[in-house]
């Protein structure tokens, strides 16, 4: 039994050490916010297929909006490739509101300003997060 506990503890320590050793912080700055109210609903993806095809995000954030430009920092993000989709839930109803054509009436954005008439694919929106870098992504709200 002692051996099992020791193994588990050792594994946890090693996992924790490995996380600390290969994690980084990421600062997301969102600009061009028309109405300084509501929330930014941010989805961070680490899997291309999930990003491109409406799958599950690695993490989700809900950040209050009080200015035309808002920044937030995520700590302890494992190194790797990510892409971000977000929308501005200006009225705070938890949904991205659309018009009768099904097109967004609240601001939205991606971690690339490519894709002038629609979302850029993961390959275009992707950025690297690494421990040694100053990881910054600036997203213009559309």
């Amino acid at each position: 039994m002692k051996t099992v506990i020791a193994t588990v503890v050792s594994l946890m320590v090693s996992l924790a050490l490995s996380t600390v050793a290969h994690a980084a912080s990421l600062t997301i700055t969102v600009t061009d916010i028309e109405e300084p109210e509501g929330f930014l609903m941010i989805a961070i993806f680490d899997v291309a297929d999930a990003y491109d095809n409406g799958g599950e995000a690695y993490d989700g954030l809900r950040i209050p909006v009080d200015a035309a430009e808002v920044s937030t920092t995520i700590e302890d993000l494992p190194e790797g490739q990510y892409a971000i989709k977000l929308y501005h839930d200006a009225n705070g109803n938890g949904e991205m509101d659309t018009n009768m054509m099904g097109l967004p009436v609240e601001g939205y954005g991606f971690s690339s300003n490519k894709g002038r008439f629609g979302p850029p694919p993961f390959a275009d929106a992707m950025f690297e997060v690494s421990e040694d870098a100053d990881n910054q992504v600036v997203i213009k709200l559309r």
């Binding site: 509101d97 659309t98 018009n99 009768m100 054509m101 097109l103 967004p104 009436v105 601001g107 939205y108 300003n113 490519k114 894709g115 002038r116 008439f117 213009k140 709200l141 559309r142």
Partner: protein, 494 residues
């Protein structure tokens, strides 16, 4: 297509030289100064301060108020010139007319696009017919909205109208932009055409065209109350994704004309997405105002319509008056050439619209069209006259070879099928005539603007609608010129 030979009792004044400005010019400078392309030269990205016009003749008392005009004015920034006439940022020209004086000033509609591009002093967003290299994405239909087509007085404001997205609200006194007109949350950024029509009771009808939506495109029909706002929205699935710019209506029906000018996704610009498909027919949609789901489709040989005059009912038929083109070259070709200032000095025969009457028989489901020989665009009518007997006014071209564009105001008297016109002097390009009723009895004045490109002057004309051939009863000219525009409105002082 059935061509009816309307009697052309054409007469008018043909003063001035008929020599083309290019051939008359003796050096490069005068070529530049007297070229018709002055009308498509970009304005500067700043408002125009008030300037008094020199007035000749006598301005009628009824023509007291403000003539507002809208059109693409800013067509160049940082060395980039737009390719298509639809592209430029909308500028509102105002001519205040009072006590025999006319004063002009102008202000850009402060759209999201214009405001953003003012900060960077360069184009950031694509035009309808021009792609722009930039890292600024289009988020919705209003990202590239230039509010540059028309103006409608609405609830003590002006609506500056585009067609791909929302209208903008403008203060008619200060010309200040008051913001985007959002009719409802679920209608934000929806297409809203530049040609709404208003009933005598104040009800506004309009549509939004989304050729890119659904399988073959969608039309959204709007009914708006001046008091309570948006009352009804009817989405219509289209049988083909045809371009549509305006509509007309009779007492009971709305009439929408779709030429086979078809949208295919994937092109670089909105204009380039359209292609004329002359093997296919035009399709006309009739909608009952009392039941927007009651829709009837008709087919006609191919044709292209930008502007409609009016419509009326006679037995089983609905008769609509249109300015009909043979094809869509006006949009796909001529509007590019105008921006390039190509040296052609004659009115292109591939881009001429003729006055036409479209008859839709609701019982048989058939349509016929009578196309006249009378070239006419930017139609205008006397709203007080019985439609079946009334006249239609518009700009025309006299074929004198003196202008690249419209040089005359035309009256089509539908009752006796006679046409009268006034041809302006050489080197004048004439814009949309607006109807201003005389205070007593019948009749009215036609008020509009012109560009004298030889003198680099923009001005205002006033014609007696009953006596066009007499020529302007008053004219105003100013010592500056502004780009030619599309549509306007006259707001009289009560």
């Amino acid at each position: 297509m059935n061509r009816r030979g309307f009697l052309q009792a054409t007469s008018g004044a043909l003063a001035g030289s008929l020599i083309s400005p290019l051939s008359a010019a003796s050096n490069a400078d005068s070529v530049e100064q007297s070229h018709w392309s002055l009308g498509w030269q970009s304005a500067l990205p700043q408002p125009l301060e008030p300037l008094r016009l020199d007035v000749s003749g006598k301005l009628p008392a009824e023509v007291t108020g403000s003539l507002y005009r809208n059109g693409p004015a800013l067509t160049e920034r940082a060395g980039i010139r737009y390719r298509h006439w639809f592209d430029g940022d909308g500028m509102i020209q105002r001519f205040r007319i009072e006590d025999q004086t006319i004063v002009h000033d102008a202000q850009y509609v402060q759209t999201e696009k214009f405001t953003r591009e003012q900060r960077t002093r360069r184009f950031l967003l694509p035009g309808a017919g021009t792609d722009i290299e930039s890292d600024v994405p289009s988020g919705n239909n209003d990202s590239g909205n230039v509010a540059n087509i028309a103006l409608l007085p609405w609830n003590s404001e002006l609506l500056a109208l585009w067609e791909g997205g929302s209208a903008y609200r403008v203060d008619p006194d200060t010309l200040e932009t008051l913001g985007r007109k959002d009719w409802r949350d679920d209608l934000k950024h929806m297409p809203f055409s530049a040609h709404p029509m208003v009933e005598p009771d104040g009800t506004m009808w309009n549509f939004g065209s989304a050729p890119y939506a659904g399988r073959n495109g969608k039309l959204f029909v709007y009914r708006v109350s001046s008091e309570s706002g948006m009352q009804a929205v009817q989405p219509v699935d289209l049988p083909m994704s045809g371009y549509i710019h305006s509509f007309t209506m009779s007492e009971r029906y709305l009439v929408f004309y779709f030429g086979p000018h078809l949208f295919t996704p994937g092109a670089t610009t909105f204009v380039d997405s359209f292609e004329w498909s002359g093997d296919e027919s035009s399709k006309i949609l009739l909608i009952d105002k009392n039941d927007l789901s009651a829709q009837q489709w008709f087919e006609e040989p191919p044709g292209c319509v930008f502007h409609c005059a009016n419509a009326y009912e006679q037995g089983d038929e609905v008769i609509a008056r249109l300015c009909l083109y043979d094809n869509a070259d006006i949009m796909q070709r001529a509007m590019f050439e105008l921006m390039r200032a190509e040296p052609s000095n004659t009115y292109p025969d591939y881009a001429r619209a003729a006055f036409a009457e479209l008859r839709l028989n609701r019982t048989t489901g058939t349509a016929t069209v009578d196309t006249s020989d009378v070239l006419m665009e930017f139609p205008s009518v006397d709203p007080r006259a019985a439609i079946e007997a009334g006249s239609v006014f518009g700009v025309g071209h006299s074929d004198t070879g003196s202008a690249r564009y419209s040089d005359s105001v035309v009256r089509m008297d539908v009752r006796n099928e006679e046409t009268t016109r006034y041809v302006f002097d050489a080197h004048h390009i004439v814009e949309e005539p607006l109807w201003v009723a005389k205070s007593a009895g019948q009749g009215g004045w036609l008020v509009g603007t012109f560009l004298d490109y030889r003198r680099a002057q923009t001005g205002v004309y006033v014609l007696d609608a009953e006596n066009l051939t007499a020529g302007p009863i008053a004219m105003g000219r100013m010592s500056r010129h502004v780009p030619l525009g599309f549509h306007g409105c006259f707001v009289g002082v009560a």
